[in-house]
């Protein structure tokens, strides 16, 4: 049955406890639940266990904010607008949190297993690499694979010989079932049905894999409208726990058919956050310096936001200057 409750960003953020395991919707710099991510920093969450198929600007915001205890993923950066994830890099080098690397398809395998309620999912991707180096199992090195934390599998992966077709050895990847999926979607119904535009990334899997789901949506629409085209919906209402209507909630990441990536904003974030001091100054201005999402938007201003607004036919902005010409 529908169980999704309407709530505010502050309310849903307050439900997330230090040490909880989180995953996110989106892909690198697209459809990230940024308004909620900022609020997690504002509420100074600690020791969060991130499992994400891929990282992005939101990961850097949380890393710099000192919110992360464990980061399991395969990639972090800002795509064309910042070639590295400097806060995660610092953390790995200074061992301020645990970094566990998987490949992209291995991370998808883990989330698929979680979404399907399977203990593991097999994959032949990335065999023969240092990603599978037993010496580089950082959670094991930290003594965290003893079974005491039900969210941390007893092994990073297991090799298994195909008994059916003699294909050879294949890697079994353990399920990932985070406590929370923090999702940004373009549209959610007043009962909790979720719909996204364009690529679905791993959003459907993240929603199903997580124990609890928060959906920030650009707009909340009447349930019956989304039921007219059920083939276009990503998740049903009983998979969602909280819904928040939050226009521009993915900024500075992009939201197909609503707004484009704010390249300048991400570029300046990247430049500013190459050092922790730089991050702190940036956060003082853009996270702690604004009370909430409304103040954040007011600070950005309508002129900037309108430039990002998507062309209704193309689904992305034709007004932003993207290159040198």
């Amino acid at each position: 049955m529908a169980k999704a409750q309407r709530a505010t960003i502050q309310e849903v953020a307050s439900l997330i406890k230090d040490g909880d395991m989180l995953t996110f919707s989106g892909f690198t710099i697209w459809r990230r639940p940024m308004a909620l991510v900022y609020e997690l920093v504002r509420q100074q969450k600690k020791n969060l266990h991130l499992f994400e198929v891929n990282g992005g600007t939101h990961t850097e915001v949380l890393a710099g904010g000192g919110c992360i205890g464990i980061w399991e993923s395969c990639w972090v950066g800002h795509e064309l607008y910042g070639k590295l994830g400097e806060r995660v890099a610092d953390a790995q080098i200074n061992k301020s949190f645990i970094v566990e690397d998987y490949s992209h398809a291995q991370a998808v395998a883990r989330l698929l297993a979680g979404a399907y309620g399977l203990p593991f999912f097999p994959t032949a991707c990335s065999l023969g690499t240092d990603i599978l180096n037993p010496e580089y199992d950082m959670l094991k090195k930290a003594g965290k694979r003893d079974g005491s934390n039900p969210k941390i599998p007893k092994q990073k992966y297991v090799m298994y010989e195909d008994p059916f077709f003699d294909m050879g050895g294949i890697a079994l990847m353990p399920a990932a079932n985070p406590d929370w999926a923090l999702v940004y979607a373009q549209t959610v119904s007043d009962k909790g049905i979720v719909r996204v535009n364009a690529q679905t990334y791993t959003d459907a899997e993240a929603i199903r894999a997580a124990d609890k789901v928060i959906v920030l949506a650009e707009e909340i629409v009447p349930d019956e409208y989304l039921r007219r085209e059920p083939t276009r919906n990503l998740a049903t209402d009983y998979m969602v726990d909280y819904i928040v209507e939050c226009p521009w909630g993915a900024h500075p990441t992009g939201s197909q058919f609503f707004y484009d990536v704010d390249a300048d904003f991400i570029r300046s974030f990247y430049t500013a956050t190459k050092s922790q001091d730089g991050y702190n100054k940036w956060a003082d201005e853009w996270i702690f310096g604004v009370k909430d999402h409304d103040e954040y938007l007011a600070k950005l201003g309508i002129t900037r936001l309108d430039k990002l607004r998507a062309n209704t036919m193309l689904g992305y902005s034709t007004r932003v200057k993207r290159g040198s010409r």
Binding site: F27, T28, I29, W30, V53, N54, C74, W75, V76, G77, E79, L80, K83, G85, A89, Q92, I93, V99, Y102, S103, H104, A105, V108, L112, T123, A124, C125, S126, L127, G128, T129, D130, L132, N133, P134, E135, Y136, M159, D166, M167, G168, G169, A198, Q199, T200, Y201, E205, G254, F257, D260, V261, A263, L314, G315, Y316, T318, K321, R322, G323, R325
Partner: protein, 270 residues
Amino acid sequence: MSNANEYAKPGEYKGADLLAVAAAREVNDGDVVFAGTGLPMLAIMLAQKNNAPNSVCIYEAGSVDGKPIDLPTSVGDARCATNASIAAGLTEAFYSNLHRGYVDLAFLGGAEIDQYGNVNTTVVGDYANPSKRFTGSGGNPDINALARKTVFIMVQEKRRFKEHVDYITSPGWMVKKWPSGELVPKQEVYGKYFRGGVSAVITNMGVFRFDENGVIYLDTVHPGFTAEQVKDNCSFDLNISRCKGETVPPTYGELELLYKVVDPEGIFLP
């Protein structure tokens, strides 16, 4: 253009131009290409508008055979899905397409590479105590592992061309067999999932290929460089004995396509 098929002269094009053009020429018409972010996107779009009009491009975020009107800046970009045949997610890209065996060519970048074509995009130094962190693997090792052929597009620097990379992110012709970690031929680890491997590495100085033993050698050197200069930009003893001459430079037509059609906004080609 009257002189569309004439070759540009050194000085009339930039290193990145030849990089993109040489990479595009590696695409056979009809290939199903799985491309990573950056120059590979530029190169596949050039190929589709030039020598391989029937090639198909998959991006890991979930778009299959998109026909972007505007150049995407990354593989998750809304622009990737324009006029695509499928816009779904990573499961579609990595499992229904890549793992199932539909992909002919992987088109990827890399930070460091070794003589066997192993690529590192993860860390510098010991992984447990690294001195530098790159972005991480992304889909690079997955795509490279299960495509029938891989082309890497990289910057040529002595510190990037190493006898052994600090961390094998993406598998070349000699990979690590766990738990021992000994280097063995890729086939040995992939069993019946072995479909091929790295076929070319293209840098701003030359085009490299691999011999029968899976060892890299210089195939052609870009105009304006010598084989010795390329050798000096590798920290291992590069085999230049099989170098068959100069890389064919871009044509004026290819440059026109690159700057006027593929990247008119100057995103990858300032």
